[in-house]
């Protein structure tokens, strides 16, 4: 298949060899599970259990609230200890409501919903089941998958793209899934295509995963509608928009979705979760996590129950060989720093990285020498050097005019910067400030409108009162006259 050119991008050191050859290994049952109510984009789930309740594996613990939300299920059987605020795997380290579940060691399933035959039930049934099972985008985006599977009703979708690029350095969880759970992944992919009503499926995999490519190609050979495409190894090939452009030549307009150009993109692990939900009725209660970074003694791919603390994963990997400079959730390019090790694995945790200082290669920031490396690296055609300068001077609207809000946060610019300028930090600040300013502006406008409306109302009431008085006076006068 002919691929289309995309601009920019970088060739980071991938360092996938540390875990690419390691088979997925189950993590032993932890002593306590911490299940945050919000492991997805959208409204947090609402607990339906209380402290002291006994629950079984797969049982609903918290239901979705509203359209964009996802339920949370028990990762094993046991007792609800408490629901309390606990540190989330987010750089802020802020606590958020979390269900504490103490496993009873029986790991006993609840009564699961019956399996569905995806090719005979109505299409909407599939999305409903996926929603019910709490499946979200497992590449790290954590957008509720059911909403994306329903896009076929709103947009004319003709291609389903399965993102097996795994372009982030270090991560190998999708690579392992494609090799070890090939049949489940391909079945999940076909189920998703059925839900979307799509005839054409493209599974795109970077060429640095030859085993995964071969396995997926062999498995999908039987299905004419599925095409497995090798992608050049380049970051950020797995960016949804850029992947779609590379595969179809279609470019997503600014501020629109790929669905606007007829394409929906789903992740490999998500496909497998959909297979489990539809074929077995199993909710999303565990995921594969790559534990890597040279600070870890033995890097591994682990099958982890959601809610397990990161410290337990690291312990299972033999602990640390040196104190890391960062604990990351996800890859080193777009992943997030975690406040420490005592945070739970959630639905979007694709990797846990403990990076040494040598790996991170952080240096003092120097002045920009305008070398233009960032411009060449940017996959979006932005001029990062100029945006950062504007943000430095608080010229946020000017930065937005030259594309601040079109930035993906992929970090290619900051990766190549010879002056080690934290460009993404500037952009995050700029975006945050813009959002806050917009909120303020809206608030001001609202206040102004309310004040104006009030003034108008007061005036109107005044006018009406006067009119009424005048009318009454007139009537009285007339009455008098009439009486006279």
């Amino acid at each position: 298949m002919k691929l289309f050119r995309i601009r920019g991008g970088i060739h980071p050191e991938y360092r996938k060899e540390m875990t690419a050859g390691k088979a997925i290994e189950p993590l032993p049952m932890p002593a306590l599970l911490h299940l945050p109510l919000q492991q997805h984009i959208g409204a947090p789930a609402v607990p339906v259990v209380a402290a002291g309740d006994r629950v079984r594996k797969g049982q609903l613990l918290a239901r979705a609230r509203g359209e964009i939300s996802a339920p949370v299920h028990a990762s094993t059987s046991g007792r609800i200890v408490d629901i309390l605020p606990f540190a989330a795997p987010h750089p802020s380290g802020l606590a958020q409501p979390t269900i504490l579940l103490e496993p009873d060691g029986l790991d006993e399933w609840t009564d699961l919903p019956p399996p569905l035959d995806p090719f005979s039930v109505p299409r909407e049934e599939i999305a409903r089941r996926v929603a019910e099972c709490g499946v979200v985008g497992m590449g790290g985006g954590t957008f509720p998958s059911a909403v994306k599977l329903d896009l076929g009703r709103k947009f004319p979708i003709d291609v389903l793209v399965i993102n097996g690029a795994e372009c982030e350095p270090y991560l190998t969880c999708d690579d392992r899934l494609m090799r070890e759970c090939t049949a489940e992944v391909v079945d999940g992919v076909r189920i998703m295509a059925r839900a979307l009503g799509v005839e054409r499926i493209v599974i795109a995999i970077e060429k640095n995963k030859p085993e995964a490519l071969a396995a997926m190609a062999a498995e999908s050979a039987a299905f004419a509608e599925v095409e497995v495409v090798p992608l050049p190894t380049r970051y950020p090939m797995g960016s949804e928009r850029h992947l779609v452009t590379a595969l179809t030549g279609r470019e997503t307009p600014a501020r629109k979705l790929t669905a606007d150009i007829g394409v929906v993109v789903h992740n490999i692990a998500t496909a497998r979760a959909v297979h489990h939900a539809v074929r077995l009725g199993r909710p999303l209660i565990s995921r594969v996590v790559t534990v890597s970074g040279r600070a870890v003694r033995e890097q591994k791919n682990l099958d982890v129950r959601l809610g397990t603390l990161v410290s337990q994963l690291i312990e299972h990997c033999g602990g640390l060989v040196e104190p890391p400079v960062h604990y990351l959730s996800g890859g080193p390019m777009m992943g997030q720093a975690m406040p420490g090790r005592e945070v739970p694995v959630v639905k979007g945790t694709s990797g846990i990285l403990a990076l040494t200082a040598a790996e991170a290669h952080e240096r003092d920031t120097m002045p920009c020498i305008r070398c233009g490396s960032c411009v060449t690296a940017c996959p979006c055609g932005l001029v990062p050097v100029e945006m950062a300068q504007m943000i430095r001077h608080e010229k946020l609207d000017a930065a937005a005019r030259i594309g601040l809000l079109d930035c993906l946060n992929c970090g290619s610019c900051a990766y190549v910067c010879p002056a080690h300028i934290p460009l993404v930090q500037y952009f995050n600040y700029g975006k945050g400030r813009l959002a806050a300013l917009q909120r303020d502006r809206r608030k001001q406008e609202m206040t102004k409108r309310l004040a104006e409306q009030r003034a108008e109302r007061v005036e109107r009431l005044d006018r009406e009162r006067k009119a009424k008085m005048a009318a009454a006076k007139k009537a009285a006068a007339e009455k008098q006259e009439g009486g006279a």
Binding site: A254, G335, P367, G372
Partner: protein, 356 residues
């Protein structure tokens, strides 16, 4: 210094630095420099050393006045490169005070009055050269014919010192650069083929002709330039558009009147065309940051260079052309940008695809 790395990604970085970038440029300059030092002997070596010393001293002075961390900023290598390029643009036997004055002007007026590294609008080395050329036209155009080190007629170490420090008048040895010679002859009304009589284009390519250090040895400079492109320190856009515009314009004029205008190849191998295209015009700080902008900028330098060489008072125009286009860089960066993903060139969002 802002240290915010632990809040935003990426948490991995390329093993690159300003120092590495500067070091690669120096490596690229080295073959041509060594060759020129050999060709012009001890006075040229003295000149290079003095220019470097003056530049580094001026940088250190400015940095400590500004209260910046000396080891960090002196170590970035940018000032060494500035001094080096300045020395390459001077007549190789120029006296000591040219070197010192040039180095100080380049670093203080060219760089630090704007705020130091990365802040300057104009190429510091060219600021130094142009200030010297305008102020002291005589010593700045006093060239000598090549006298290879240790060969016959080459001054020894002591003689070299006396040339550099003004104890020895070498007027008698002076020779005109090719550009200067041809221009003077043309101005006298001599026909081109006669004016260029005895001009050996091959010698120009190799560099065994009178001229500034960096004006000769086009071949070795080209080699260095290709190395920089291969190592991705610079992109091809500026050298190609600059040399292309210069060549195209010269060829066109030569075709219009072969008796008055030398051809394209002559313009490429004379003067500082190659040095300028790969090492001066590509100065990262003072050139546009986007590839299309670099094309506009390079072409501008090529055209201006031709105009100055052909119709203005000076035989060589690279330095002026570079400074003039430096002044245009902010405008070019403002108006010439890449297309943003999902938007038209004018910044409007693309139209969503309609299902056929």
């Amino acid at each position: 210094m802002i240290s915010t790395h632990d809040i935003s990604g990426p948490y991995a970085h390329q093993k690159t630095s300003i120092r590495r970038t500067m070091a690669l440029v120096m490596v690229a300059l080295l073959p041509a420099t060594l060759f020129d030092l050999w060709v012009f002997g001890w006075p040229a070596i003295n000149l290079l050393v003095l220019t470097l010393a003056a530049s580094v001293a001026a940088e250190a002075g400015c940095l400590s006045l500004a209260g910046k961390r000396l080891p960090l900023f002196l170590g970035d290598g940018s000032v060494v490169l500035t001094g080096w390029l300045l020395a390459m643009s001077l007549p190789p036997w120029a006296p000591w005070w040219i070197a010192v004055l040039g180095g100080v002007v380049a670093v203080v007026l060219g760089k630090h009055v704007f705020g130091g590294l990365g802040q300057n609008v104009f190429n510091p080395a060219m600021v130094g050269r142009v200030a010297l050329l305008i102020s002291f036209p005589l010593p700045m155009t006093m060239y000598v014919a090549p006298r290879p080190l240790f060969g016959a007629g080459s001054p020894g170490f002591v003689e070299g010192l006396s040339i550099t420090f003004g104890g020895w008048d070498y007027d008698a040895l002076s020779a005109a650069s090719t550009l200067g010679h041809v221009k003077t002859e043309l101005a006298r009304g001599v026909a081109l083929d006669q004016a260029m009589g005895g001009t050996d284009l091959m010698a120009l390519v190799m560099g065994t002709v009178p001229g500034s250090m960096g004006e000769t040895s086009a071949a070795l400079l080209l080699l260095g330039g290709l190395f920089l492109i291969a190592r991705r320190v610079i992109s091809w856009h500026i050298p190609v558009s600059m040399l292309g515009a210069l060549f195209a314009l010269a060829t066109l004029m030569h075709w219009v009147d072969p008796a008055r205008f030398p051809g394209g190849f002559y313009h490429l191998v004379t003067g500082a065309a190659v040095l300028g295209a790969f090492f001066i015009a590509t100065d990262l700080v003072t050139s546009p940051v986007t590839p299309p902008g670099q094309l506009v900028y390079g072409a501008g330098i090529g055209i201006l260079t031709y105009v100055i060489r052909t119709w203005a008072g000076f035989p060589e125009g690279i330095a002026f052309a570079v400074l003039l286009m430096n002044a245009m860089t902010p405008l070019i960066d403002r108006w010439v940008r890449p297309r943003v993903y999902g938007r038209t060139l004018r910044g409007e969002p693309l139209q969503p695809r309609r299902k056929a």
